[in-house]
């Protein structure tokens, strides 16, 4: 079976498991909704400046939501010694990682699909700049968070205080991507950035995604066989 086949198998497995229990998605959805409401209290959405901060708030909400999902994305591999079976399986380790990262990506994108209209309603948003760019920025930014998050969640499988470790390690590493996605989103919403700067932020996001996807794929085997 070729590489893509392995990845799709892993992906299908995760999607099926999630569909049966749905705890990850439900947790994420509810948590994101709460975050939106709390931020609406904290930062008055009706103020004229709300358009400036909406980009940052959206991404912080997605970051928190993604972290709750990523934390438990590997726990289903811990029961019944599934991890040992994964190590022995003939599929390459990076295929396992990629399949799981893609599954997490789909979950977070599903939550975003619900979160984005909510934000638009609560903050009376409409993009002053090129709105179609958001369809590019959101997946790129989400992938940056998900790929590193899946990797570090795997890093922390056997650690105590797993839930603490993931944000502690993920957030500092993700700062360049967070900066880029927030700046790009705010640029689209407020049209304060000219198109050169806006596209440069998008390029920063793309480069970040490429660099860290490569690093994660190359290093995952070491993490899987860390003992």
């Amino acid at each position: 079976m070729n590489y893509l086949g392995h990845v799709l198998n892993h992906l299908r497995k995760d999607l099926r498991l999630e569909w049966r229990s749905r705890d990850s998605i439900n947790g994420m959805l509810f948590f994101s909704l709460l975050v939106v409401v709390v931020f609406s209290m904290a930062f008055d959405p009706t103020a004229s400046a709300s358009r400036q901060i909406a980009g940052g708030i959206v991404w912080v909400a997605i970051l928190f939501a993604a972290t709750t999902a990523l934390n438990q994305s590997w726990t289903r591999e811990l029961r019944n010694d599934v991890m040992d079976a994964q190590r022995l399986a003939p599929s390459p380790a990076s295929a396992l990682f990629l399949g799981k990262a893609l599954a997490n990506m789909i979950f977070v994108l599903a939550v975003e699909a619900i979160l984005a209209p909510l934000f638009t309603i609560f903050y009376n948003l409409h993009a002053v700049g090129p709105g179609w760019l958001l369809a590019l920025i959101m997946p790129l930014g989400t992938w940056a968070l998900v790929v590193n998050g899946t990797f570090f969640a795997a890093l922390g499988i056997r650690t105590r205080n797993r839930e603490l470790l993931l944000p502690l390690v993920l957030f500092p590493i993700s700062i360049p991507a967070l900066l880029a996605m927030v700046q790009a989103t705010t640029g689209v919403l407020t049209a304060e950035l000219d198109s050169i700067q806006l596209y440069l932020w998008v390029k920063v996001l793309i480069s970040y995604d490429i660099i860290f996807t490569t690093v994660c794929l190359l290093l995952f085997e070491t993490v899987l066989h860390a003992e």
Partner: protein, 245 residues
């Protein structure tokens, strides 16, 4: 501390030289170097802040080298890998010490001179991030299960090495678009000749101190590792009931 082996002699000499240079540096910095025209005496913080902050940027790379060496030797020569990990750990601790000093002294300098404790320009943000990442490095080392600790920490070190330059470049680019209200003149933009002895003495002194303390910490870690191995060997032999010779 019985026999004067070559290592001991060199270490002793290096430490003595370091202390002498630092004492001379202190004398130069406080008593000899002239008072700075605009900032006054508080500018003397510069002589201690800049070497510490620079050291905080050098030792992460020592940690990275140790981590890469560990990953390389992990399956090929476990004993060398263990030594590499000891170096990585020592360098990481020293990084945190110097980075913390750099951050705090920078803030103590910034408040009287610029009126602000902090600003989010590329240098400070990257420095804070470096500190955060190395704190998470130690959290990973502490929380992970034995056997995995060294490998996971080494991987995190690689991520840190890749990420820190990216952070610097992205925030620098961002800041040139939105210039910060405070202008950082750059303390090493043209150093007055009368200040040079103070600066160079302290710079050399603190880097030498960093090397010494890293080497000492490395030696301590190696001693701990060997003690642990001996204890494990002892336990195994005891369980096999082979008389220990």
């Amino acid at each position: 501390m019985s026999r004067p082996t070559p290592t001991r002699i060199v270490t002793g000499l290096w430490f003595a030289a370091t202390v002498i240079i630092l004492v001379l540096g202190f004398h130069q910095a406080i008593f000899v170097a002239p008072m700075e025209a605009t900032m006054g005496n508080v500018q003397r913080i510069f002589y201690y802040h800049v070497p510490s902050a620079t050291a905080g940027l050098i030792f992460p790379y020592v940690n990275l080298i140790g981590s890469l060496a560990f990953l390389y030797w992990r399956r090929r020569d476990p004993l060398k890998a263990l030594a590499a990990d000891a170096l990585a750990l020592a360098a990481a601790e020293v990084t945190i010490v110097f980075t913390s000093i750099g951050l705090v002294t920078g803030m103590l300098w910034g408040k009287p001179v610029w009126g602000i404790w902090w600003t989010w320009d590329e240098r400070l943000t990257t420095y804070l991030l470096l500190w955060l990442i190395y704190v998470s490095y130690f959290v990973v080392r502490r929380l992970s299960s034995t056997g995995q600790t060294q490998t996971l920490a080494a991987i995190l070190s690689i991520f840190a090495g890749i990420d820190v330059p990216i952070v610097y470049m992205s925030i620098r680019w961002w800041r040139t678009q939105h210039p910060s209200p405070v202008f950082f003149g750059g303390p090493d933009s043209g150093l007055d000749p009368s200040m040079r002895p103070a600066f160079f003495l302290n710079f050399a002194g603190w880097i030498m101190w960093g090397v010494f303390i890293t080497a000492f910490r490395y030696a301590l870690e190696r001693r701990r590792q060997v003690a642990e191995q001996n204890a494990a060997l002892h336990a195994i032999e005891a369980s096999l009931e082979i008389p220990h010779q």
